[in-house]
Amino acid sequence: MSDEAAAAEEAEPEADPPEQVETTTRYGALVEDSLGDTVLHTPVADYLDTASAAHGDGFALLVDLTAVDFLTYAGTRRLPDGVDPQRFEIVTSLFNTQSRERLRMRVQVPAEEPTVASMFDLWPGSEILEREVFDLFGIEFTDHPDMSRVLMPEDWVGHPLRKDYSVSSIPVQFKSASNVR
């Protein structure tokens, strides 16, 4: 697999043997095609740089910033070569307001050190999204202006959307009601 220099455009598909997967880079990150969407895989250390490069290239709209916990994933995680699967993944969706292009960045975040750079200085709209990820997953964002819970009460213990946090449903017995007016 050859790695092109940083900020290369997507290469045309060549007539390669089927086992060899094309890896190209864009803004310094590996590119993958996921059901028609362009996905960039970037390591945690380069996340802010890749995002800055995308921001400079016209991706002015941060659409979404969320996380996934792969602790109990039943399938096989298929990631491009060179990408180490970790427990958490931060998924950032961007939209280019000039070229109408969508882009998605996926960052692998280890469970032992769930810390990622904050996107606040590029897109202030990430403030509440990052607070939600902190609240529900426990991933902290460095240099965030207000790293506090947003959906759960401030004194809540635990991060509900993690896979090891139970749904906490209570057993229900359905009885027919008599005396219904």
């Binding site: 759960m152 009460p153 809540w156 509900p160 946090y165 139970s166 749904v167 906490s168 449903s169 209570i170 229900v172 009601a177 005396n179 219904v180 007016r181």
Partner: protein
């Protein structure tokens, strides 16, 4: 029938109370109090989620709660008699709900509107209180997701009736907390009608 005229007061006093039966309404104080309580219910605003939209729909022109004197949803709990808990009660809003309930003056009634308020609904998880009766005593449970305005009005009429007959207070004493009356869902009954076409 003899109606006493203005100048005939002397006669009336001599007659005693026999000529005046058509000018007096008699009844017990209890009945009068119940009638007043039932007919002047003012709801407090506690619309939380989707049921709040249907509660607002019940207050507007097509279903019109104003004919029962209930279109003024009081923002201040001090001025309200009825709390309609419309929507799912999350862990964060539960203390707020209790505080608003405590601020209401006696006598106060609670209608739990919708399945989320009655039992947690389809959300049996960490975030939703499984039934608002864990926080406040409930008098009428209205099922539906969301209950249409017709079901809400059926719940309100049931409450009116129960207050009027005194049954509600008896049920409250028997249960120790709310009256816990369950009603059936009655939606889709006026879908065929149309106004202003």
């Amino acid at each position: 029938m003899h109606l006493p005229g203005v100048g005939e007061t002397g006669e009336i006093l001599d007659d005693g109370l026999e000529g005046l039966e058509h000018n007096f309404l008699t009844g017990s104080v209890e009945n009068l109090v119940r009638w007043a309580r039932a007919r002047s219910l003012w709801p407090a605003t506690f619309g939380l989620a989707c049921c709040a939209i249907e509660m607002m729909a019940a207050g507007t022109a097509h279903y019109d709660l104003a004919r029962y004197g209930m279109e003024v949803f009081r923002a201040s709990p001090r001025q309200a008699d009825l709390m309609i808990v419309a929507g799912r009660v999350s862990q964060k809003v539960a203390p707020v709900l209790r505080q608003v309930y405590d601020q209401m003056m006696e006598p106060k009634w609670v209608i739990s509107m919708g399945v989320c308020a009655s039992s947690g609904g389809m959300f049996n998880n960490y975030a939703i209180v499984q039934g608002v009766d864990q926080i406040v005593p409930v008098d009428v449970y209205a099922p539906g997701c969301p209950p249409g305005p017709e079901t809400l009005m059926h719940a309100i009429f049931t409450l009116h009736e129960q207050i009027q007959t005194g049954e509600l207070l008896r049920r409250r004493e028997a249960s120790g907390s709310g009256a816990g009356i369950m009603i059936e869902q009655r939606d889709g009954q006026t879908a065929g009608l149309s106004i202003g076409s």
